[in-house]
Symmetry: C2
Subunit: 516 residues, 2 copies
């Protein structure tokens, strides 16, 4: 679980190529925007493939550097680089397929009277900012999902350097810029700024059109507020925090306590519990069946390796946060450990707490309903479905939730699914909350504070939509329009189109089929 | 152009059915949400059709009452009721067709390894608020586009009564609620609140999930700020204000001055200039060809009937706003009229002003770049393409813009189109800015302040998207899922599906084709 306890987060020895002051970075991004758009879908698909290749070619050095800065371990980081490269390539397929453009053409009224065609599609917003996360230096970093989807959309990215892994950021930035130049694109499709003040100035920049952010509720809300307070507000896509519930129904607890203990432990301990999809509240039925799951789970957590956490402030918040929760009335500590060391590089013990469902129901503002980042979870025991429902209803929206059901839980499961889906972006059946698959059907978001914009996703093919906005052309002759819009002039039956589109309400296929 | 100068905006004689205090209205909406969702697509399609029928059946009384309150004229209002009913029916077709749900199913990795299916689709947000506009009591009112699209999505609507046409609001509300009951739906799918304070309390209500608004920059921005400042922020879809440019290129001015004068006059004078798509800035080339257009246009405006404006505050803003603009240095008044009367029901004169492009370029903060609601426009004379480009670049984003080009303007048009599309939601070629077609390809939005959320539209089929958010189900057995998601279990080739969907990245058609 834990990586080498190194944490040699030394600063840069020289200013990285592509690191600029905010005004310079945003001016470069604004100049680059029309060039990135002009590359077209094929050119941007090649750009993303070149970036994926560049990251993969440099993977050994990237993983070693990131391990020095994050202590996540080289094998874990190599797998994350692979996922990050795959993500860049997924958006290449999204571009090739083209239905993300949402092309729609209206040519006649309901009674068949023709009018000058109206053609609607989505265009890139312009320069955007990407604030990466501490816990995924690659998949949610300078080359992460927000960057991949923004570049695919045609939006130049100004990345904010993450202060807990600056050297990794610089290496990733260099790889992306080398790849861009090699693919015939301007290096400035990705630039970077550094420092707390730069982050604030960046979201206030008049040239900026949108912000992607993965991080804490405090920092994220502050930036959200700045975006909303601009003279001309811009969207802030923030993934802030989430206490993801995992619900074990009675028959599941009775039938498979050992398997549940394994899945729940994975949901709490993966990457030292430092993932946004960690299960933070584990709902178990009262009684012997629930006790058996709890016993097996406690044993697994007690045996787990102690992780070194990402940085000193996350570590301090974890040590204080677990102590604060353990001291609450009605809360019992299930894990008994020697105290953690005092050195920031010392590993920390996983912590399992337990309480009754009434605690959450009676105090929805309890600190137990707030995220505690790290290998910690609260086991919530419930008496019956009513008790469970009341506790779940009191929770804030989450990124993900899990429902573990056995054969005779079907009716309860059917009743609970709408409640779970009411706030969460993803509902998992009989599996761990973490381990997000990146594909066409991926949803990574949810109600606030899981996301500041529950209409979008930060991961998966649909993420491209957050960087686009619609424009309709009314009566503009086809010759003045981009390839994708040169349709709807009466010869649709004649052959394939560049992209799938909708003609007078009827969906028509594109030129071919693109598989994942 | 003008309606009867009646303005007998008397208050209600009794509390309308469906008018509640905010807490009662939002509680009823929250209770109604699952019932509206449970109607399914077919049930909601029937609901919208019943509402369209109810409005149409009551059209004579509705138009007469609205004319008393808005002075827009019965024929204009009857046409608006027809458009409003058509709009409700359009969303019925959107529901029947079903691709708005964005169903995507992933079942295997890129190398073909199967995993428990991930199924993504869009679900209704929950109760929403709709603030209608003063200028379209039907199409942007209690039964307008926001209400139609929200009900289609499955979101109960709490409408804010418009203070300048309360009796029209009450009649529309009654028609919608009668139709709902008749269609087997709860009457509370639409409720209403009244008063300034209620509007504020409404957007702050914890039960509310989104707001649609059409109105002024001042009022809209205040409500936007309240939505952003909530403990749990919600989206505010506001259409605030827009100074829409209409650009006449040299060859167009040379070839068809009379036709241009007609189209431009329509763009300024339709409904007394009280439309969000009014052309506020008319760019004409300097020289004899531009002079000819201007002369013909001035003649048309001078001959136009004086409209009675919607309400006293709009009238006061118009009288003051045109006087303020007329007094600016570098601005000349082209229309010479006797002064308007002082009674709120007196008609007002259309006003045409003129200035040079340098005025806008040198002072982008000039009041000339702000909307002046009513039959007023500023003719901006430009020297050459460079002069024109500089002035256009200085403008705020708009809902719509028009480009009038002749045969030899092709190169200039090609260069200007990206600039015009950079801010506007709709680009019109050789036609009036007003007269929005409501269909599948409609876009009615734009950058701020034209819209507070440029990713969405307030009119047309795509408007349904603003009331939805994505949820993914991972590994949930098909039997626990709604019809539309019961696919992706390996028998996709066997027959038609309920809705179009994407399987492992490949788009597959729905059961049939729905035309507009």
């Amino acid at each position: 679980m834990s990586g080498p306890a190194t944490h040699t987060g030394a600063p840069h020895t020289a200013t990285p190529d592509g690191l600029y002051e905010v005004t310079e970075a945003t001016a470069r991004a604004a100049r680059t925007a029309p060039l990135l758009a002009a590359l077209g879908r094929a050119g941007r698909s090649r750009l993303l493939a070149a970036m994926a290749d560049a990251l993969w070619a440099d993977r050994e050095r990237l993983a070693a550097t990131a391990d020095e800065e994050t202590a996540l371990g080289v094998p874990v980081l190599l797998a994350e680089i692979a996922r990050t490269a795959d993500q860049l390539r997924l958006f290449g397929r999204v571009l090739d397929e083209g239905s993300y453009l949402g092309v729609a053409v209206d040519t006649r009224t309901a009674d068949g009277t023709a009018f000058p065609p109206v053609r609607r599609w989505l265009v890139p917003r312009g320069p955007v900012a990407v604030f990466g996360a501490s816990n995924f230096p690659f998949a949610y970093g300078v080359a992460g999902g927000d960057t991949a989807s923004a570049l695919a959309a045609g939006c130049p990215v100004v990345a904010k350097e993450h202060p807990s892994h600056p050297r990794t950021c610089a290496l990733v930035l260099a790889a992306l810029r080398r790849a861009a130049t090699g693919a015939g694109a301007p290096a400035d499709v990705v630039t970077m700024v550094s420092g707390f003040r730069a982050g604030i100035d960046l979201v206030r920049s008049p040239q900026l059109t949108a912000v992607g952010f993965t991080g804490s509720v405090g920092g994220g809300r502050a930036l959200f507020d700045l975006c909303a307070a601009r003279p001309s507000p811009i969207p802030f896509y923030g993934e802030l925090g989430s206490v993801n519930p995992a619900v074990v129904l009675p028959a599941a607890a009775r039938d498979r306590p050992a398997a549940l203990a394994r899945v729940l432990a994975d949901s709490v301990l993966t990457r030292g519990g430092q993932v946004c999809t960690k299960a933070g509240l584990l709902f178990l039925p009262e009684g012997a069946d629930g006790d058996a799951v709890l016993e097996a789970l406690s044993a697994r957590v007690a045996e787990a390796a102690w992780p070194v956490l990402l940085n000193p402030s996350i570590r301090a918040a974890y040590v204080l946060g677990t102590a604060e929760r353990a001291a609450l009335p009605g809360v019992r500590v299930l894990t008994r450990h020697r105290p953690a060391g005092t050195n920031p590089a010392d590993p920390v013990p996983p912590v399992l707490l337990t309480t009754g469902a009434a605690t959450l129901r009676d105090d929805p503002e309890s600190v137990l309903t707030e995220e505690c980042f790290g290998p910690c979870a609260v086991v919530v025991r419930y008496r019956d479905t009513e008790d469970l429902t009341a506790a779940l209803t009191a929770l804030a929206p989450s990124l993900v939730c899990a429902l573990h059901a056995g054969d005779t839980d079907a009716d309860t499961a059917r009743a609970l699914l709408p409640l779970l889906a009411a706030g969460a972006g993803r509902v998992v059946w009989n599996d761990a909350t973490c381990g997000l698959r990146v594909g066409w059907a991926t949803q990574h978001g949810g109600g606030y504070p899981a996301s500041t914009d529950s209409a979008t996703t930060s991961v998966g093919a649909a993420a491209i939509g957050r960087w686009l906005r619609p424009v309709a052309y009314q009566g503009v002759p086809a010759g003045f329009l981009p390839d994708e819009l040169r349709t709807g002039d009466g010869n649709e039956g004649a052959g394939p189109h560049t992209v799938p589109f909708r003609l007078d309400g009827v969906p028509l296929p594109g030129p071919g089929r693109t598989n994942r």
